[in-house]
């Protein structure tokens, strides 16, 4: 399941949610707001998402992952709105019976999230400029 939130991601609560599942391996990935982009110092980001499309796309990604890996459980939360360097932008938990599958499935899912999830990031720099990331 994917949710988006405009509040700081409560990673402690998510970790407790993981504990309800008794898989043998749990891999958690946290994407953290970087404070630089190339030579620019980043002051903050604005994340924007289309929540309905993002939730549907995440389910497709998980379905694809399920065909390759024996997933037992996944959970993802993505931040929207304003976020500062050091804050968690995306949290992904993936549980499988064994660690190799958990690592690989987590890598696959986060790579697909980066490529496909309808979420957009605008960076605001120290020099007053700003820019959408990946905009052609």
């Amino acid at each position: 399941m994917l949710t988006v939130t405009d509040q700081p991601i409560d990673t402690t609560a998510l970790r407790r949610e993981c504990a309800l599942h008794t898989a043998g391996a749990l891999v958690i990935f946290e994407g953290v707001v970087r404070d630089f982009h190339q030579a620019q110092k980043v002051l903050r980001l604005e994340y924007e998402a289309n929540p309905a499309l993002a939730a549907a796309e995440y389910e497709l990604i998980v379905q694809e992952a399920s065909r390759m890996y024996p997933l037992l459980w996944t959970r993802c939360v993505h931040r929207v709105g304003s976020a500062s360097p050091g804050e968690t932008a995306v949290w992904l938990g993936v549980a499988t019976a064994h660690r190799a599958q958990a690592f690989e499935a987590c890598r696959f899912i986060i790579d697909q999230i980066k490529e496909r999830l309808p979420v957009w990031k605008k960076e605001y720099y120290e020099n007053g400029e700003s820019g959408w990331i990946n905009a052609p």
């Binding site: 994407g31 994340y47 924007e48 998402a49 289309n50 309905a52 499309l53 549907a56 796309e57 993505h78 932008a89 995306v90 986060i110 999230i113 980066k114 490529e115 496909r116 999830l117 309808p118 979420v119 957009w120 990031k121 605008k122 959408w132 990331i133 990946n134 905009a135 052609p136």
Partner: protein, 80 residues
């Protein structure tokens, strides 16, 4: 002539100066609608770099548009 609702997100919202609109159009496909709005708002993102959703589902650019459809043009993702 049909009327479609278009939601503009991210860079497209900034370039359009609006988050959404109801638009009367003779466009037959999603791509034709985008090209019409691209001309109206001088969008800089080429159609090849975008995806499109119709009525909350990912769609193809060649898909037909019907009266009352809701379209969202999706710039390249940059989440995470």
């Amino acid at each position: 002539m049909i009327t479609v609702r278009i939601d503009y997100v991210a860079m497209l919202r900034e370039q359009a100066g609006r988050a959404s609109e109801s638009r009367n159009t003779n466009a037959a496909t999603a791509e034709a609608v985008y090209r019409e709005t691209q001309a109206a708002y001088t969008f800089t993102i080429p159609v090849a770099a975008l995806r499109v959703a119709i009525n909350d589902r990912m769609a193809n650019w060649t898909d037909p548009v019907r009266d009352g459809d809701r379209l969202v043009f999706l710039p390249p993702s940059s989440g995470g």
